[in-house]
């Protein structure tokens, strides 16, 4: 080290000690920053660590390279290679004990002086020290010294000849005879022993990399290359070696030594150090001259087996341990990804840990995993079923649970789907009730030729198009003023009715059939569900104040009822239509303090001027259906469409599913659904909903198709293959265009024609064969020859019967049992009769036979065929997660 280029070496045994060598050797101990007082002489390396200088050794001038003796004892013995080629053993911070004394000060002198470029201790046979020297004529450039050798045999001769050597040395400490001499007539720039065999030495020679074998020194394996500096073996992968030349690093595989397996991107400045991280596989750190960053190459990814020439992917990144320019660095031998860096000047040191890249992966079942260094973190969603978790579950979890509970599949009682979804989402509840009413009304219209007869025909699809469109077509609205039921007092509240309004009320669920507006049934059902306030409000809106009071009273007296309802009932009973009464004045102001929105709107209704019901209509916590029904009853033809439009837009913007009532399953409805999916990601509800009630053109909407495909993909990702199949069946029923066409045909080996039913049933074939083999019933599947050419079908490799023969059920214990089994078996295992074959070896047979064969075997049942058919099927070994 000529003063300007420092280097660092970690102690092979003390994880807290390292040596810095520049013009002298300095031994440091690294430790945590002193708790209270930093002792004088400690240098802070990072926020947590500091170094203490333990010893300095400046005995050896003209240092070129240093290597730390790998044995425990003596622990701090260093070999120093000098500019004149001599290798000196020296020590640091040691009381010169006996073991040390023998070695320290020993010199190994080459025959011809030239620079010593590199040193390497043998990792196993620790007495061997390899030194790489510059070229000197025909002399050897790699000398392997045995440090335990006593003295040179020809000392007497040498001593006589040493005339210019002016260093006064105890001649017994000088060794001039190396154990091995290698690399004649060449220069050696870098050296390392190979881990795979301690007799092998890899040397970066002048223009070639050579592997010397100490067992046969006359032979060497070599490859011509310029990348001969800094050879270093990957400690985790003993066949992988890095070397460099100027700005380029070459990575070699010793098993395929002809050329580098890869070269890293070239740097503009020459490299000075390349080092594999000892604590992490495949991480290489490189340093260039005059740089303040260390470049890291992460070679984690093994090359893909396809194609020999594909280069492994490398992730390259840079770290900047300190501000100043870096002189050298050294990985900590055991601490993960840690290194000490020394600056190019002034010996400023930094303790630095490279932060590991985080790799992160979502599972399809909402758990999240990430890996950092040697840690693997799993973040799963709280599955606390019992305690009401404060955090709402992720939509994927919800959808998964819902898929398991067959959400969306109840086509008879459509409203029940919200219960399958968990029954706690008001929007879903509203949605499924809407759909339920829509389907009910449309069903009614189709079969019952009742009052709606005249609505039929042109307005048939109107029910799907939502209240917004129904109201728009409204005509012949009649206005009436009715009495409060049970009193003859005339109200000044005008009420409107028409066929369309009546239909709208039905869609809102208030009435079940028109034209009479009779909400009694609805009230009863609300009472059953203990929705007292809502029932009371609806009764009131139907001008039945007495019923409303009765309902409230009932609610108060029920078990666990709210006694306050009685108070409300009392207040209600005091209703007066006197414009300036105290009652009216107090109610209109105090109602705002009522917590229940239905109670609130009841008083709003009673205290409003006719036609000005903003207090009711814009009370957002009241269900949309109730507000719409109210509007249909009390808003004039002029006001109603305006209100409905406004509300519709509001719903669409918010993606509120209650708005489906207004939009129906039209393009508007898809718009609304779109903002719902944007908000929640719930493609499941969107898929089922659009499938449920929609006429064809809505299903053709690309957005709808996208939701459906995404839902199917989700089911596949969860391995819910049965659920997906069920969904496809449902989809096929509701949207016949979605049924896929047959894509696979079984064709005859001889005539090439399809042997399947669909083909032979084509008119021009003129043949009456109904089913051949494939999923055939036992009686008809006896046909074992091609319907086209009458040649036999191939045989099953296992039962050796021609295909088309049904799989024989194994003999049962008794005949009666067998018979029962047979019918069951035939129903359940029609798949067993299917044709299957391996795409690789083309052998096959009955699906059932093949499955049972591969349960116990890996190779093809055909003798002499070694095809591992089942293993070629990458998904064959996956198990559905919903096997029910």
């Amino acid at each position: 080290m000529s003063g300007s280029k420092p280097d660092i070496l970690w102690s092979p045994h003390h994880p807290d000690r390292y040596v810095i060598c520049d013009s002298e050797l300095g031994l440091y101990r690294i430790g945590p920053v002193g708790g209270t007082e930093t002792k004088p002489g400690t240098l802070p390396l990072s926020e947590e660590t500091a170094a203490t200088l333990l010893a300095i050794n400046s005995d050896t001038p003209y240092m070129k390279c240093v290597a730390w003796y790998p044995k425990h004892e003596p622990e701090c013995l260093l070999a120093v290679g000098q500019a004149n080629g001599r290798v000196v053993l020296t020590s640091l911070g040691q009381s010169h004990n006996s073991t040390c004394k023998e070695l320290v000060g020993k010199e190994f002198v080459p025959k011809h002086a030239r620079q010593c470029n590199t040193l390497a201790w043998n990792p196993v046979d620790n007495n061997l020290l390899a030194a790489g020297l510059d070229k000197h004529r025909a002399d050897f450039s790699v000398l392997i010294w045995d440090i335990s050798s006593k003295f040179a045999p020809e000392t007497s001769v040498a001593a006589e000849k040493i005339r210019i050597s002016t260093v006064d040395l105890d001649s017994s400490m000088v060794v001039t005879k190396p154990l091995y001499e290698l690399g004649q007539n060449d220069a050696c720039l870098s050296l390392c022993w190979l881990f795979r065999d301690p007799k092998l030495l890899l040397a970066g020679m002048h223009r070639n990399l050579a592997i010397f074998d100490l067992r046969n020194t006359s032979q060497k394996m070599f490859v011509n290359t310029k990348a001969i500096q800094g050879v270093t073996v990957d400690p985790h992968f003993h066949d992988r070696v890095a070397s460099f030349f100027e700005g380029q690093v070459a990575i070699w595989d010793l098993r395929k030594f002809e050329k580098p397996v890869l070269t890293l991107t070239e740097q503009s400045k020459p490299l000075t150090k390349v080092a594999w991280c000892p604590t992490r596989t495949g991480l290489l750190a490189t340093l260039t001259r005059d740089s303040n960053v260390i470049r890291l190459y992460d070679m984690q990814h093994t090359p893909t087996p396809i194609g020999d020439e594909t280069e492994p992917t490398i992730i390259e990144r840079s770290v900047q341990p300190c501000e100043s320019q870096i002189g050298s660095f050294a990985w900590h031998p055991s601490s993960q990804n840690r290194m000490v860096v020394v600056s190019a000047t002034n010996r400023v040191m930094t303790d630095f840990t490279v932060f590991e890249r985080i790799s992160l992966a979502w599972s399809s079942t909402t758990s999240l995993m990430w890996a950092c260094g040697r840690h693997l973190y799993d973040c799963a969603e709280d599955s606390a079923e019992g305690a009401e978790s404060t955090v709402e579950k992720d939509i994927a979890t919800k959808m998964r649970e819902r898929a398991q509970s067959r959400y969306g599949h109840d086509t008879l009682q459509v409203w029940r789907n919200h219960l399958l979804a968990g029954g706690n989402d008001p929007q879903l509840k509203s949605l499924w009730y809407d759909l339920s009413y829509i389907l009910y009304v449309s069903h009614m219209k189709q079969c019952a030729e009742d009052m709606e007869l005249k609505l039929q025909g042109n307005k048939q699809s109107l029910v799907y198009s939502g209240i917004k469109n129904i109201i728009r077509t409204s005509s012949g609205t009649t206005e009436s003023r009715r009495c409060w039921i049970g009193s003859d007092r005339q109200t000044d509240v005008p009420r409107f009715s028409s066929e369309e309004r009546c239909l709208a009320l039905r869609l809102c669920g208030w009435i079940s059939r028109g034209p009479d507006i009779d909400v009694e049934t609805f009230l009863r059902s609300l009472e059953q569900e203990r929705e007292w306030e809502r029932a009371a409000a609806i009764a009131l809106f139907n001008l039945d104040i007495r019923r409303a009071i009765q309902i409230l009273n009932k609610g108060a007296t029920m078990e666990k009822g709210d006694l306050n309802l009685n108070v409300v009932a009392m207040a209600l009973s005091g209703y007066t239509d006197e414009k300036s009464s105290l009652w009216r004045e107090m109610c209109s102001s105090l109602r705002l303090q009522l917590k229940n929105p239905y109670l609130c709107i009841m008083f709003a209704f009673l205290t409003s001027e006719p036609g000005a019901y903003d207090g009711v209509l814009y009370e957002s916590s009241v269900a949309v259906r109730d507000r719409v029904a109210f509007a249909c009853m009390f808003l004039s033809d002029a006001q109603l469409p305006h209100y409905i439009d406004k509300l519709t837009n509001e719903m669409k913007e918010a993606g509120n599913l209650e708005g489906i009532l207004l939009t129906g399953l039209t393009k508007d409805g898809v718009d609304l659904m779109e903002s719902f999916v944007d908000r929640t990601g719930d493609v499941q509800t969107a898929s089922f909903c659009t499938l449920k009630g929609s006429p064809g053109e809505v299903l053709k909407d690309p957005r709808v198709q996208c939701w459906i495909e995404n839902y199917r993909n989700l089911l596949d990702a969860w391995r819910f293959w049965h659920k997906r199949a069920e969904f496809d069946i449902l989809r096929g029923k509701l949207d016949p265009s979605s049924k896929p066409l047959a894509q696979v045909f079984v064709s005859c080996n001889f005539c090439g024609k399809s042997i399947s039913y669909s083909c032979s049933a084509m008119p021009h074939q003129g043949r009456g064969f109904s089913q051949y083999g494939v999923s055939g019933s036992p009686t008809k599947s006896k046909v074992t020859s091609c319907p086209g050419c009458r040649k036999p079908l191939p045989r099953c490799a296992l039962c050796l019967m021609n295909m088309g023969t049904p799989v024989s059920s194994c003999s049962g214990p008794g005949k009666s049992d067998e018979k029962v089994d047979l019918t069951r078996e035939n129903k359940l295992s029609q798949f067993n009769n299917w044709f299957t074959w391996c795409h690789n070896c083309r052998h096959g047979g009955h699906a059932g036979h093949m499955l049972s064969w591969f349960r116990d075997h890996t190779e093809c049942p055909v003798s002499a065929c070694t095809c591992k058919c089942m293993q070629l099927d990458t998904t064959g070994n996956l198990v559905p997660a919903d096997s029910s």
């Binding site: 000529s2 025959k111 002086a113 620079q115 210019i164 004649q184 007539n185 032979q219």
Partner: protein, 328 residues
């Protein structure tokens, strides 16, 4: 064995003793500030008569034009023998002896003039660029010929010229030039380029200033001291040839000294300037040495040639060479 044809185009020049002042700037730059020039091959040899400079074209630009500088008109190429290294005979002779029979003699047989430069690290055989086809033809049977192009070693192809070459006449080569052997002893050494700055002033003193005071006459008398110093910086490697007294002026451990610390004595060839056209001079000297298996360095300068042989062998060398000479 491989023969590398290096890519340097070399000029050989002589600077008169009194002309050295005008050249010192350029020479110092070439010797000590190698990073400031693009010169890759530089050699300076001081003899009692003159300074001989061997330098590549990039380096040649650093020298001024003057009447005191004479330049040999040819452009020279350097050849370098690289043995495969496989054979582990550790007692291989060094210097020209090794290549005397394989390179030097065949070239002499073909009437190709060579200019030798031995350094601490290796031996360079300089041939004229125009002789290259002939050289390649002559040596292709014995060597793998490799040519260095932009730092890459590539196979050099025989140019295919075979016609018109004279059949070599294998005649004995008697020594025709007078020989002399100065009394002082020399060492061939090197130093770490990193330590060059620390000894730069000393080297400058040796190169440019110490000559006058120590001058002991320029005649080639036997047993007289001779002023001889050679410095070369070739592809980053430094080589020094100096007499024992000069070597002792250097600090400890700076110069590379071999474990045995050999010293060399010089045999100086030529009574009057040898010129560049005569062939076979190196062969005349090196062949007898090779036969006797005596290692030798050989340094040609503008006017005379110099062989360095181990001091303990000097008597036998003189004897052997005299025999050759007498056989004439």
């Amino acid at each position: 064995m491989e023969l590398h044809i290096l890519e340097h185009s070399l000029k050989v020049a002589s600077i008169e003793k009194e002309g050295i002042q005008i050249c010192t700037h350029g020479l110092m730059k070439l010797a000590f500030l190698a990073s400031k020039t693009r010169c890759k091959f530089f050699s300076l040899t001081e003899t009692p008569e003159d300074y001989t400079i061997i330098v590549d074209e990039e380096g040649f630009k650093e020298l001024p034009q003057s009447d005191l500088i004479s330049v040999a008109d040819a452009t020279w190429l350097a050849l370098n023998v690289v043995s495969g290294g496989g054979n582990a005979s550790s007692s291989q002779p060094i210097g020209v002896t090794k290549i005397a029979k394989s390179v030097i003699a065949p070239l002499a047989d073909h009437n190709i003039s060579v200019f030798m430069l031995s350094t601490y690290q290796t031996d360079f055989i300089l041939v004229r660029e125009r002789d290259l086809p002939m050289v390649m033809h002559t040596l292709s049977s014995e060597f793998t010929l490799l040519r260095v192009v932009n730092g890459e070693t590539v196979a050099a192809h025989d140019l295919g010229v075979t016609n018109g070459f004279v059949k070599p006449k294998l005649v004995p080569r008697p020594i025709i030039h007078p020989l002399s052997s100065p009394s002082n002893m020399f060492c061939v050494t090197s130093l770490d380029p990193d330590t060059l700055p620390s000894v730069a002033t000393l080297l400058m003193d040796v190169m440019f200033y110490s000559g006058g005071s120590k001058e002991l006459g320029t005649s080639s008398e036997d047993s007289s001291h001779i002023r001889f110093f050679s410095f070369s910086l070739i592809e980053g490697y430094i080589s020094l040839v100096m007499d024992e007294q000069t070597a002792q002026r250097f600090p400890n451990n700076v110069l590379f000294t071999s474990a045995s610390g050999e010293l060399w004595k010089m045999v100086r060839i030529g009574g009057q300037p040898l010129g560049f056209d005569e062939c076979g001079i190196v062969a005349q000297i090196s062949e007898p040495l090779a036969t006797a298996d005596i290692p030798a360095y050989y340094i040609s300068t503008f006017k005379f040639d110099h062989a360095l042989v181990p001091e303990e062998n000097i008597q036998s060398v003189i004897k052997a060479l005299r025999t050759e000479s007498a056989a004439q």
